[in-house]
Point group: C2
Chain length 185, copies 2
């Protein structure tokens, strides 16, 4: 059965070693040693967890059929053996963003910020899974958790991708963002 | 503080008396005597509850700014003294719907089915609150819970509204729908 709900547990166990945790805007996330990515609703959690972030994969919110086809043709799955680097980027947008209508949000995300087109330029090197948090409960600390995997040779490219997005009009609506970098042995 | 999460508890207590429970498609919902509508995450539940459905209000998914302004100009709030009739309509859409992209779903919902325009015709008589369930967890029995309130004199109009929506192309994607009607004294 496919699983949509994932817990990201920052603590002392898990496949991924946390290399650095940078807070870009808003309240920091405390540092942890390792990250365990657990699927399903009954996530067994590290008794020494410093934090647990939950997110759920969901239907597409912004891409058109044409963009979805372009993405599907280029993207690779998570778990590639050579992709030993990862990033977990928890992000929250402000009330002004959520008060916009769908057409206004699409306009900022793509027509103004080229979010989808920028992402396409970094496929297939960077694999990605987006998790939504905002409608899991009314007390979630972030709206989205994006998980990226890439080979060490593509780390500089990945940083260029993030820099392009962070300088876009869409990012003026971001009021909390943390960037957790990880490697596996 | 505004609250986004609501529980609809079908059991033996609550302001609303359940008049009838009709299953239109899919698995039925068992009959209950009364409905308690509880806000917040720590919903105190009826120990004799037959069912509990949870949903969360969220950002607009389909309306444009112009449509939102039209809706805002005409709609009235819940809790009007004269609105002693209510309906709770839990609804689930199929995998084909959720596999569509945003532009395709908007095309079916509004350009083909006139969902927003039909709804506008019944304002201000019918007040409405939409709750999303699909991203609360991966085990929710419905995708949406819509709550309607209206005066007894507007019940026939409300039934006409539902008939129009149910005969639209959008409804070919509905695979579970229950219609719970209620009154308060």
């Amino acid at each position: 059965m496919s699983t949509r709900l994932f817990s990201f547990v920052g603590g002392s166990i898990g496949l991924w070693r946390i290399v650095r945790t940078d807070t870009l805007i808003g309240e920091p996330l405390v540092a942890a040693e390792r990250l365990d990515v657990v699927s399903g609703p009954d996530a067994f959690s590290d008794p020494e967890a410093r934090w647990i972030l939950r997110g759920i994969t969901s239907n597409e919110r912004y891409v058109t059929r044409e963009e979805k086809s372009q993405l599907a043709a280029k993207q690779l799955s998570l778990g590639r053996p050579e992709a030993t680097c990862a990033a977990l980027i928890p992000l929250r947008k402000n009330a002004a963003w959520w008060g916009l209508t769908q057409d206004e949000r699409r306009g900022i995300l793509e027509e103004q910020s080229r979010h989808i087109q920028i992402g396409l330029q970094y496929l297939p090197a960077v694999a990605r899974r987006l998790h939504h948090c905002r409608d899991l409960s009314e007390r979630e600390p972030f709206d989205f958790l994006t998980w990226f995997e890439f080979a060490p040779a593509h780390e500089a490219e990945f940083n260029t991708l993030l820099a392009a997005l962070r300088s876009s009009p869409e990012w003026t609506y971001v009021d909390r963002e943390v960037d957790v970098r990880l490697t596996r042995d």
